[in-house]
């Protein structure tokens, strides 16, 4: 039976799916986090790849009005100066006594000019204020107003290099986490130094915390100390999410 040239329903469906798939493949992320042969990590990575391939690039999360601001629990570390029995905790306590005048955020790695930013220098950069929903993986949510400098501006000021793929954050509560460049350059990804019109309170990450609005709350690291731009994925070792059993990408 000669079927050449016939457009069967099956052939139309297969061709259609293949071309749609081809479109998505071009958006498929080139740098995937390692799975360590672990089924759960494979699922996380699949979700990450699907989100990056299928979702529009830089859509904004909903922003609320001031009357929507709610009460806001502070969980996890609420004072590194007390909870961290290490040089890091001592350093934080000294900074806190000096009202964070000596705090410096170091930006290094794959940048043209590695440098540090004081709190005053960050505040001199153009700021962004956004009222957004904090979504905790535990299941609770809270709405707060955040003021800070877009991370993209800070990275731009240090001159981000073409080899850059991820941005890694180190904190005073001895934690390491990272985000990809798409999230790092998202307009609502900010280094927040203000909350609800005041300085960022100590339990919420003073002096500066990260806001990554399209992921779960735990990606918005508190008590920032250092930012490293990398060309390779860094899981943060024993101080990072993955080795503690938590997904790296949490857009879901």
């Amino acid at each position: 039976m000669k079927t050449t040239g016939l457009i069967t329903r099956r052939r139309a469906i297969v061709t259609g799916l293949a071309s749609v798939g081809g479109l998505f493949l071009t958006r498929f992320p080139k740098d995937l986090p390692p799975t360590y042969g672990n089924l759960l990590r494979m699922g996380d990575t699949f979700t990450y790849a699907a989100h990056r391939a299928l979702l529009p690039g830089q859509s904004l999360v909903r922003e609320y009005s001031p009357k929507d601001i709610t009460s806001f629990p502070a969980t996890g570390t609420t004072n590194p100066g007390v909870s961290e029995k290490s040089a890091l905790g001592d350093a934080y306590r000294r900074l806190q006594i000096g009202a964070f005048a000596d705090w410096r955020l170091s930006v290094e790695g794959r940048v043209a000019t590695p440098r540090t930013f004081s709190l005053a220098e960050l505040k001199q950069l153009p700021s962004r204020t956004q009222i957004t929903r904090h979504t905790c993986e535990e299941g609770w949510t809270a709405i707060g107003q955040w003021t800070g400098v877009p991370l993209g501006l800070v990275l731009g000021a240090a001159g981000i290099l073409p080899a850059a793929r991820f941005v890694v954050f180190y904190s005073y509560d001895d934690w390491v986490d990272s985000i990809d460049l798409l999230d790092a350059l998202h307009p609502q990804t900010i280094l927040a130094y203000g909350m609800n019109g005041r300085d960022l309170p100590l339990p919420h990450g003073a002096p500066v915390r990260l806001r990554v609005e399209r992921q779960m709350g735990y990606k918005s690291m508190k008590y920032l100390q250092r930012i490293v731009v990398t060309d390779e994925f860094d899981d943060g070792g024993q101080r990072g999410n993955i080795q503690n059993g938590w997904a790296w990408y949490t857009g879901i």
Binding site: D68, I143, G197, G245
Partner: protein
Amino acid sequence: MAEVPGEPGRARGVQHHARWVRVSHWIATVSLLTLAFTGLVILMAHPRLYWGDAGNDLTPALFELPISRNYQHGGWDKPMPLLQDATGPISASRTYDIFNQNGWARSLHFLAAWWLVLPGAAYLLAGMFGGHFRSHVWPRARELAPHLVWRDVVNHLRLRIPPASGGPQYGLLQKCAYSLVVFVAAPLMVVTGLAMSPALTAAFPLLSRLFGGYQSARTIHFFAFVTLLLFVAVHVAMVVRSGFRRQIRAMTVGE
């Protein structure tokens, strides 16, 4: 009886479950059980349900489920006002560790969800275009006459359950229950689940607005789960009642 669709060569008169239906059934079974278990573990980290977009330990809940030690939450530092207005929103620091196994539970939940969503989509397409839904699952209009519905309800209440047919020759209430699960409850689980994703609701804000916010979606997600759980309980009871061995053979080897 008509020719068995999609299964030529099969004996006429006795219609069996098609292979793709059997495979879909067991994939959905494993996926739903995994989702139910991990979903409960996730819920135990914060067993409070709310309505709207925001809700947490410092705001009132619709209700609380007594399923973990976080139920008797306490151990909060002295609350501090968040705004200039002293009667407005507050902040307080949590001072004790809660039950939280969400690291693996969330990852396994989403892994199982992929196994519900992708095969589920294939199942819906095959059922829609292959005629399975039309001929077996969706109740016909004339079947829904009040006296027929009443008769089937009475039969079920009196536990007059016909023996298993070994194929997709379903009773009226059976069709209604399957339709409710396939076309309403399961899709609702998926969509309310997606409505809790910050990345997806950023891309598709309607997803969140549809349910009145994140916490509403979470609450509906929970009640859709309870509905599915009730269905599974009745489903298993009916399988046992109508001939367990016969039914299991029919849904596995297809005889």
